[in-house]
Amino acid sequence: MSPAAPMHADPGLQPERTVLSWGRTMMLFALVGAVFLRWLPHYGFWTVGLTLSCAVVAGAIYLTQRRRYSRQSRGIAAERVEADVPAVLVTTLAVVVLGILGLLAVLA
């Protein structure tokens, strides 16, 4: 069987690097969720919600990686990639909400 044709011919491997960057971000969301678990004895059971939110964001990134890679590869091949505004806004919103809930927990 012959190998599959590459989806793009970019020697800079832009889609690969961007998808890996999302993967690192996904792991950091998982890490933050794990650190939030340490609050469980101090602040009560609701902190599990913070961990679960981090898991949801990390899972969402994981599940969209394949689609992201094919969209960016096709975009590089066509010389046109639409800026991913929703992904940027949702990721920022997730960090802001986690941070505000964390501040509320510490200050309460």
């Binding site: 990639v81 639409e82 929703p86 992904a87 200050l107």
Partner: protein, 130 residues
């Protein structure tokens, strides 16, 4: 005769049509590089968030209570500011590239330097005083 593929404007998402209304699509490599830079800033923000959460959770016997809360609140706040700054910078850079303008100055870099310096100074003072 077939149409020039570059002359037609494929439909864009609602958010990107609204927030990135003007100019032309930049080189896709630059768009992806901008996205990776945003993600690097978001990871920096997440590291500050994790640091603030960890100070509050792990350092109970290292720092006395009011100091620990102050350090934790400051660290989480820096994470918040950096995440908002990351999104704003991503949007400003994308707009500049679409219009062919020079890229804006990164205001979050002095913020990050200042915050890191303050955080280290506070920790040194607290450890020395302890």
């Amino acid at each position: 005769m077939s149409q020039d593929p570059l002359s037609e404007d494929p439909p864009r998402g609602r958010l990107s049509s609204r927030l990135l209304a003007h100019g032309q699509e930049p080189d896709p490599r630059f768009t992806l590089a901008n996205e990776r830079t945003f993600l690097a800033w978001i990871r920096t923000a997440l590291a500050f968030l994790a640091g603030g959460v960890a100070v509050e959770a792990f350092a109970a016997d290292v720092f006395a209570d009011p100091y620990r809360t102050v350090v934790s609140v400051l660290t989480i706040s820096v994470g918040l500011l950096i995440s908002v700054g990351a999104a704003m910078r991503w949007l400003n850079v994308e707009r500049s590239m679409r219009l062919g303008h020079p890229l804006p100055m990164p205001l979050i870099i002095p913020l990050l330097s200042f915050a890191s310096g303050v955080a280290m100074a506070v920790v040194i003072v607290l450890v020395v005083l302890d």
